[in-house]
Symmetry: C3
Subunit: 323 residues, 3 copies
């Protein structure tokens, strides 16, 4: 995000949510608390609300996604909103229309929320500047840079499962260099006061030195995981061509795959996380993914609650500014 763009309004509320970088700890904590209150409890139906009644949310996904798109759709519908889904690789892009023209078209139809996933850095901010007075933009993934609602749901899940961040050692493991999930998680966890954040990656997947300030860097999974309270595995995005060339998946599993044996090196009650979709047998073994320490499904449930909390906050902030 460029230094001149402010996500926060004069009252300290979010106008948009493009990145977790620079957001105050109190704001993150209040979002986490609200999401926790909204998170479904077993045996109860999902939380519902009215914060988006009369509002229209548009999903504009330039990259395919089941879980994130569905999660925003479910969150908006459960808050009473109308949802329009666009696969913007289709339709107008076929005709050569710019994304900004598509956005202005939807804005003229009085869309209130734009949920955008795009592989190009900066698109989200450009859209947010354009729609600023009338609508809010929520990033659902921006290049390798940012995936703020994923970072929030990860932080919420850690808080729910393990409590006080100040006591926790958290290992983020995998292709850190290309991971927007890792960046957003790091930003959230650092702000929330995690005791130790480790980024654990093969050297070819380690980010530049200027990034991930304050994190410990380890290029061995055995070392990286030792004594960790939280093990966040990242997805190997083998469908994207990397600068380092294609990944040999068997090699990767041998060096960086999370097996039950390796997980035993973590703290006794360590939790295992993964943003999904998983490559079973590559970055994580099935007995770990489905085992008692896994909170991977809980992350998905918390994802809906987190997105509801974010949408509620944005709606309330708009009302506050309007009146």
């Amino acid at each position: 995000m460029s230094p001149t763009f402010a996500q926060l309004d004069a009252g300290g509320r979010l106008r948009h949510l493009l990145t977790l970088e620079g957001l105050p700890r109190g704001l993150l904590e209040s979002l986490l608390e609200r999401a926790t209150a909204l998170a479904a409890r077993p045996g109860h139906g999902p939380a519902r609300g009215e914060a988006l009644e009369g509002s229209t949310l548009v999903n504009l996904f330039a990259e395919p996604s089941t879980r994130t798109r569905a999660s925003f759709e479910v969150a908006a519908v459960r808050l009473g909103g109308d949802v329009l889904n666009f696969d913007n690789t289709l339709s107008s892009r076929v005709k050569g229309e710019t994304l900004l023209d598509t956005v202005h078209t939807l804005l003229a139809m009085q869309a209130d929320f734009f949920v955008i996933r795009d592989g190009e850095a900066g698109v989200h901010e450009r859209v947010a500047r354009e729609v600023d007075r009338q609508a809010a933009v929520v990033s659902a993934g921006e290049a390798h840079l940012s995936h703020p609602t994923q970072g929030l749901l990860d932080a919420m899940t850690i808080r729910e499962q393990k409590g006080d961040f100040g006591q926790l050692t958290i290992a983020i493991v995998g292709d850190i260099a290309r991971s927007r999930v890792a960046r957003s998680a790091h930003q959230a966890l650092r702000t929330l006061g995690a005791r130790e954040i480790r980024i654990v990656a093969p050297r070819a997947m380690m980010p530049e030195a200027a990034e991930f300030a304050g994190a410990r860097r380890l290029d061995s999974l055995d070392d990286g995981i030792a004594g960790a309270d939280v093990v966040m595995m990242l997805r190997i995005q083998h469908e994207r061509a990397g600068s380092a060339g294609p990944v040999d998946l068997a090699d990767y599993h041998r060096e960086f795959g999370l097996t039950a044996a390796r997980l035993a090196r973590a703290a006794p009650k360590a939790i295992v996380m993964h943003p999904g979709p998983m490559n079973r047998g590559v970055e994580i073994d099935s007995d770990v993914a489905d085992g008692p320490q896994s909170v991977i499904r809980r992350q998905v449930a918390n994802g809906v609650a987190t997105r509801m909390a974010v949408l509620e906050h944005l709606a309330a902030a708009r009302r506050a500014r309007a009146g």
Copy 2:
């Protein structure tokens, strides 16, 4: 379905609907009665209800479909439910996620109903076992094996048009070997006490001897149709490569196409059915499809009512089990 999987709960209600095989006659009759009550009457708006309010239904179709997917969507919306549509050849499957992981993702978002069409046998049961405590699975087509809501709507339409099954001779005509529609119809009609069920097919399309117990087998359309009260034509699925090689459509029409002349061999007020989509001029002529004996459009209307009845039943059964 494997012998160890039970669709029914201790109270004799459906937990899931994967097949009509083995369902008690009383259960089928109560579903047919409820569907008949829900079926739209000319001049009235469609029936609506509240059985799915606060519930989320997911359509997971691995094969293309207009009518079945739309029918479930309309049924769910008219009962107050929220609907998510997934074309699961896209998104996560692109990324290599397993269907079970997709299902668990949607389950974690508190989906209540999974409507699944898949060409692979056994997928539906595997999903049902996984989601059993939290959600219900309804098959919208499984390989060549089962299409239970189609079987129910066919039985409902026959009952509505012709009354007492014990008086009826019903001919099912076409590519029986590969037809899930034929199998589900046969299961329903046999349980409901149809006097005579005939399967009528060219030898290459006749199922194995162990299947379609109790049905008469005829390999001539003229013989198969003679005196029948109900003529159910099947679709020639020429887009699928058959074991017998491609079908010559002109040959097929000559031997097994339903023409007005041939229909005259059936009982005087025989009804003509087809599950759609039709290949006009192949398995059925347009003057028959659109003629006075055709109830093909009524089948579609009854399809919505049948799916509403099934969803209502599943929702009521869940509430009964919950407490």
Copy 3:
């Protein structure tokens, strides 16, 4: 539309909306007035209503579209309707089903409104004849012939911005021969009494002499635009192969692109319109498209209001005929 097909019922209300040709001025004016009342005012949420509660609208688009499909979807949802979206290049068309069979399937599910875009002339009327007693058809674009809701929203925008049609000179500029937007605008504006309508096009894009009765023809943009109160630019549809061969876009821009310098030849407060999606730098420059005389975004907002007005009218007409 064939001479034997009547869009209007005995009470002078629309049964369907396939074309603006031949519609009475009073009817157009009442639709424009209602749309104006529904059009969103800055600072207010969008207008909502209940005219479509309990109704189902189906979007059947055989050509890709973001704005028109979304506009109808938003209009229907804001009137309380349920919406089904079909990309009918997929699903049943894969299986060879005819469009009429698809329509009858959806009709049997009690769809009330069919919104159809198709590149083939006559499809809309054929569907309207089939569904006439039970449902209404609204054209969302028919070949090069008709796009009636676009014509209405254009007329509404001109009326809103410039007032009395009898005082106005309106230039329609671009590939007139292939433009359904131009035809529907011409029909509306002529009926509404525009003082002067000009069609401005390179000779290769000029329609046959029998068309656009009463319009002045000019093959120079400088002449065509001189003194005009309204400049309606058309999209160059370079993705369609034209009879005149591919268009050289740089040539086109030189001869027929709307630049700020050229716009200065129009009347001092002339408004600039475009149906979207725009080819910036081809038929229109960005500084004009985004400049103070542009009402392009207002057209989009008015599009939703226009479609709401049309759907309300059709729903009321159905109720009136039903008794």
